[in-house]
Every structure is written in C-alpha cells, then in structure tokens.
C-alpha cells in the first residue's frame, strides 16, 4: 500500500468541496478517463476584487488524485485570481504533507486544472491552448510540451524518469521518449542560463550533438536512434513474430505492401469505431508503419495496447513482423 501522509488520507476520506457549482465563473477540466485520472474544477469569482469565493471539484482517480483536488479547492478559496495563479503543484503536494514520487502527477493535474479554470474565467479560449501550449508530446496521456515545461521548471526535474512520474508522459508506449528528452534538454538549458539549475545537473539531449559525435540534425525531421528503452518493455516492442504468419515468398513491392496494410486496417476499423474512434494509415517506412488514431483513441491509455493489436494484425497480413507507431504530427506535415 502507498505510504500516504495523514493529510492525504484525511483529504481522501473526507474530501472538501466536492460537487458541482451552479453557474461557475470558471471551469477547468484536465485528464481523461482513459488516462486513469481526470479533474473538473469549478470556481466562483467575486467581480469586485477578482477573489475566488467558492470552488468545487469532481475527480475520477486514485486516492492522491482525490486528495490533491480537495486540497486545491481549500488552498484557492479566498485568494485573488492573481494569487491563485502562483499556486504550483509543489504547493499542493506540500499542503498535503508530500506525495509519493509516483503520485506527483496528481498534484500536477491539480495545478493544470487551476490554470485551465482561470484561463476559462478570463475568457481565454481553451481551444487556443494547443498553440500556446505547444505540440502534443505524449499521445497516450495527452501531455503537451507546455505542461512538460511547467512541470520541469516547477519541480526542477532533470531525468526522463521523474518527468514521467510527475506528468505521466512516456509512461505507456514510450515512443515519445525522444521528444521528452528534447523538451527536458531545452528547458534545463534555459534554467541553467537563468541560474535556476546547476549546469552539472542539467539533462543534455544527446540527439543534437552538444559536443557529441552524433550528427547534427534539425529537430523537426530528426529521428535519432532511440536511447536505451525503459525496462518495462511491452510485448508490442519485443521481437514478436506473428503466430501463423508465413514468410513472404519474395520481396514485396511498396504498392502491394500498402494495399495489404490498408486491407488489414479496414478490417480492424469497426472495432475502433465502436468505441467512438478511428484509425488511418499515414506512412510506411521500411518495417515501420505510422498510423493516426482519432477520436477517443487519441488519448486513450490503451492506445499502446491498441497499437499492439494493430501491429499483430498487420504483421499477420504481411507475413513479417512490422512496428506500428503513432503518427507524429510534425513528421506527417
């Protein structure tokens, strides 16, 4: 069992400010049921001094997610919007007497919901967030570059593992590991130049040849050799030979290959559509097939498993093992 502080237990067993606010002035929603946790934060703001007079939440998630939401509401009621904006995930975790490292992402979720609720109150369109918040880095958990940067800065993160613990990014299929490293390298470099981080501690991205022998490539199209894979390898990434596949007779033309892949994808699409999603072929490069997931599939934590399923079907159709990866927006463009 997790070693939760008494304060966490108290806020989990007796959550404050649960429920829905009538006519809220700001609403922030983060996470999704697929990710395993989601938070809807509602705030009431007094027009005179922009002070938060009431806050309510609804949370789907584990003990620390519920406790973090509860703590957040207690912390922001009575604060002005400007004061509330200074609340970081560290403050939430601190208020709760600390959280286990694997659970820090719960406090990050709280801070992000607050940010979203205030943006909503100020009339900043949440949809516009995509531009402001940068590209989606982790498709499995729907984590943007902006969220990563904030979590890295606020918590002085310097390793990919802690970034995953604090934001969940890279915790599923891990295909975004390289992008996380890029963001981590960039943000750490900024922090060093601002005197917020010791240079020796900063993470250095290896793909960009910072005195390394690796060739310098432009990030947009770079596909550097992936670093050592994390320990928890999924079946999808192991050298899986599809059961029952026959070795192909001879080399297959690209057209033939794509036709076979299309055919196999068509066969699995109904499964996706049943769940309100869809899948589309984007690119074929050697034995790597990029597909685009749509609808509920996009931020489904099962997307890694889904990709594994697609991978098996495609491997079966082609009679040889292939690797199926989520299409990268920047690469597809």
């Amino acid at each position: 069992m997790w070693n939760y502080s008494e304060k966490v237990k108290d806020h989990f067993f007796n959550p404050r400010n649960v429920g829905v606010l009538d006519a809220p002035d700001g609403v922030g929603e983060v996470g999704s049921i697929a990710c395993g946790d989601a938070l809807k934060l509602m705030i009431k703001v007094a027009p005179a001094d922009a002070r938060i007079t009431d806050a309510r939440f609804q949370t789907f998630g584990c003990g620390s997610a519920i406790a973090s939401s509860s703590a957040l509401t207690e912390m922001i009621i009575g604060k002005t919007i400007d004061e509330a904006l200074t609340v970081t995930n560290q403050d939430i975790a601190g208020y709760l007497g600390g959280l286990p490292p694997e659970k820090m992402h719960c406090s990050v979720m709280g801070a992000e919901a607050l940010r979203a609720a205030i943006a909503n109150y100020r009339g900043e369109a949440l949809e516009a967030d995509d531009d402001e918040d940068g590209a989606l880095v982790c498709k499995c958990f729907g984590i943007t570059e902006g969220l990563l940067s904030r979590a890295i800065r606020t918590n002085a993160l310097t390793t990919v593992e802690t970034v995953t613990a604090y934001t969940k990014a890279g915790g599923s299929c891990a295909t975004c590991r390289d992008k996380i490293e890029m963001v981590l390298g960039d943000v750490n470099a900024e922090m060093v130049s601002e005197g917020l981080l010791e240079s020796a501690k900063a993470f250095r991205y290896r793909g960009r040849g910072l005195g390394e022998t690796a060739p310098v490539t432009t990030p947009a199209t770079a596909r550097p050799t992936p670093p050592a894979r994390p320990a928890q390898l999924r079946p999808a990434q192991a050298a899986v030979k599809p059961a029952g596949a026959k070795p192909a007779g001879g080399p297959m033309t690209l057209v033939k290959k794509i036709a076979l892949i299309q055919e196999a994808l068509e066969a699995v699409r109904p499964t996706f559509q049943r769940d309100g999603g869809d899948v589309e072929l984007v690119d074929v490069e050697g034995d790597t097939v990029s597909v685009q997931l749509f609808g509920t599939c996009v931020d489904c934590s099962m997307s890694a498993f889904t990709l594994h399923m697609v991978q098996e079907k495609l491997s079966e159709a082609l009679g040889r093992p292939v690797r199926v990866v989520p299409a990268d927006d920047s690469m597809a463009a």
């Binding site: 997790w2 049921i33 395993g36 997610a65 030979k241 029952g244 489904c300 099962m302 399923m309």
Partner: protein
C-alpha cells in the same frame, strides 16, 4: 489498520496454523542438514522425503522424485524455461501467452531482447480465453519451450493446459505451465498428462513464502539453474529449506483434503459475492471466462471509478482486496491482463479482484456485499463522468409504470 476480512488470497494466503506446527520442530529440534550422516540429518531427511510424497499426491504425479523443491513460483518458472532452452540450444523460439505472470512474461521478453529468441505471445479474447488457432500456428519444431499458465491470477480463467500440452507433445516441444494459482484448487493428475514442467508456490496454498516446487516429468531433458550441490538429485543445488519444505508438504496434504470444500462451499461463496454485488451495483461486470475459472476468484470491473480509491475505502471497512488499476501497481496503465482482454478503459481502471480461500466465511461475504455498494456510489458521486453515464444508461432503459 488490519483488515478483518481477507479476500486477497491470490496474492498470498495465511499460513495454516497446522502448517506452522508441522514446521516448528524443524527449526530447533530437527535442525540438521539433510545431507549429514548423523541423527540430526536423518530426521531432516525424513521430513524432506515425507514432504515430497505429500506434494506428489497433490499433483497426482507418478513419482516422488519428479518434485524438485525451489524457493517459490518465480524460481520454478525461471528454472523450467531456462532448463528447457538449455536442453535444446538449436531451437530458437518460445511460445507463451499475453496474460502470463511477469515471472514468465518478463523473462521471455528479456530472452527475446537479450538472447535473440523469437517470441510468440498468444493473445486472448475478451473473456480471457486463449486463441487456440494462434497457438496451433505458433507450434513448430523450432520451438524450444511452451510456457502457458494454467489459471490466471487476476481473473481466475483456466486455460485448457492439458490439451495444449498434448498439442506441444505431438511436435516434441517441452511444455511448462505456471500453475501457482491452480495447485490446491483443482484435482490434478499429472501422471496422465503431457505436461513436462509445472510450477507451484507454497504461499498461495497456506504454506509460507519462500518455498515452492517444480514438477519435472520423468525423462524430461533438464539443466539446473543453480549448480553446486547434489541436492534434489542435482537439479537444484543448495541446502534444502527443510522447515519450508515440511510446511509445503503439510499444506499440500491439507489442500488435497480441502479440494471438495474449495469446489463447493468456497465456490458457492464466490458466486454469492458476485451475484450480490451485480444485483446491487449498476454498471459493473465480471471479467474473465465465467464458465471456466478458479472457484475462489471473482474479478469485477466497476465502471467510471478507479480501483485504488475502491481499495482504500474497502480497507477502511476492514476488507482486503486487490485491483488491476494503474495506480495500485505504481505503473501508469491498467494491468496487462485487462488490456489483453480489451476491457474498455472506462472499466479497466475499476477492475477489482476478490480472491477467497477455505478460511473465508459467509459473514465475510455478506459484509462486502453490505459495504461495497455505498463505496461505489460514493466514488461515483465524486466522478465527473458518472452523471453523464447515468444519463446514458437511463436513456437506454425505458421506464415502466
């Protein structure tokens, strides 16, 4: 707080007091090394020999020397798989399933990655049933070992392992099964089966942790994992854990005697629990192959809520259960078993396992049926998804006057 109602017996069981009393003399009285020539050694050796026949009886094995004592399930699994690979170095493929315990799955993935073995991971359907066509297709003379679990630890789903072993035997492939959840819950007759290697674990059947056994059918080609001594006929070196072995022997004897109870009374309690919960809680369902599973296991997926929160609230009511949710495991995803079955994410996060034992009482079950509906309702009350879901459900259910 110590929960009073323990429904997590697939994780581990309470050591039976009779097992403890069988073990005690072997700590302070018969503490000798079974290999020694003197009287201390003789007493230890006698305990070892008796335990071997006790385990043999539970397995329905033809010979007592087919039982090799190990430190537990994980060692047995590793020994079996690595022994089979070492015995056929020219064969470079391994067949296993998508829902194995990590002790098998992680080892196979390691072997694929580090040693270049080709891995066939046989999928399961939405009820957790093995894809037999895929299994058949994966078998060939290139396969060094098949390792498929007998019963799944999360859902209790039983695979047709005896049939799978016959299929493997036809191609002369060694067949291993991780049976740690199966042994002690069903009558076994390994003497009449084509199973070559079988793992069992003491602490799943009311013996202590740190003791287990590997069944090695007579004539099976074998290479020891741990070398050095002549113990276990050279198949597992190291001074025997005599108290543990004696405990496992006694536990095997008790399990054999309790098989009827397990399959009648315990099964009845499990069904009562399931039916009681399904009747009182909406939007939940049983995962796994309901028709074909262990008598003690119920895995129920509660939609729109998260497993860890359920467990924390159950624990406060004195009930111990477990969950396949991401948060309880410390990973970020629901269990690989739930994902392999394609359980929708709306439910996979709320999958909760209740695993009973012969010590479970009717009062235990009734208590869970009493408290759980309130816990589920409470968490759904917190969930931003619940109102919408309720609305959806209502719109599909016409109201009758």
């Amino acid at each position: 707080m110590q929960p009073a109602i323990y429904l997590d017996n697939n994780a581990t069981t309470r050591v039976d007091p009779e097992v403890v009393s069988a073990m005690l003399p072997f700590f302070t009285e018969h503490f000798g090394n079974a290999s020694s020539m003197h009287g201390f050694g003789t007493a230890a050796g006698a305990g070892l020999a008796r335990a071997r026949t006790q385990v043999q009886a539970l397995l329905g094995a033809a010979h007592d020397h087919e039982v090799v004592f190990t430190s537990g399930g994980s060692e047995s699994n590793a020994t079996a798989i690595l022994a089979a690979l070492a015995a056929s170095p020219e064969r470079r493929e391994i067949v296993t399933s998508a829902v194995e315990h990590p002790a098998v799955l992680a080892l196979c993935q390691y072997l694929a990655k580090q040693e270049g073995y080709e891995l066939h991971i046989i999928p399961v359907d939405d009820k957790g049933r093995l894809d037999l066509d895929a299994y058949r297709a994966a078998l060939s003379e290139r396969v060094a070992v098949v390792s498929i679990m007998w019963a799944n630890n999360e859902t209790g789903t039983i695979f047709p392992v005896e049939h799978l072993a016959v299929m493997a035997k036809a191609l002369d492939i060694p067949f291993h099964t991780d049976a740690v959840q199966m042994v002690g819950k069903s009558t076994l007759s390994l003497a009449d089966s084509a199973i070559d290697l079988l793992s069992l674990s003491g602490h799943k059947l009311h013996a202590p942790k740190g003791i287990g056994a590997l069944y090695v059918k007579r004539g099976t080609r074998f290479r020891p994992l741990i070398r050095g001594g002549h113990q276990e006929r050279g198949r597992r070196a190291g001074t025997e854990n005599i108290p543990g072995i004696v405990g496992l022997g006694r536990a095997a004897e008790l399990a054999l005697a309790g098989l009827a109870d397990e399959n009648t009374r315990v099964r009845g309690l499990r069904d009562r629990l399931e039916q009681g919960l399904l009747a009182r809680i909406e939007h939940c369902f049983v995962t796994g192959d309901v028709e074909n599973r262990l008598p003690n296991t119920a895995n129920i997926a509660f939609e729109f809520i998260e497993g860890e929160a359920i467990l924390l609230l159950l624990n406060r009511e004195g009930v111990a259960a477990s969950s396949g949710s991401a948060c309880t495991s410390g990973s970020l995803e629901p269990s690989h078993v739930m994902r392999a079955m394609g359980i929708p994410y709306t439910a996979a996060h709320g999958a909760t396992r209740f695993s009973l034992s012969r010590e479970t009482t009717e009062a235990d079950i009734d208590r869970v049926i009493e408290v759980l509906p309130g816990i589920i309702a409470r968490l759904r009350g917190l969930s931003p998804y619940w109102n919408a879901a309720e609305g959806t459900a209502k719109s599909f259910e016409p109201a009758y006057a």
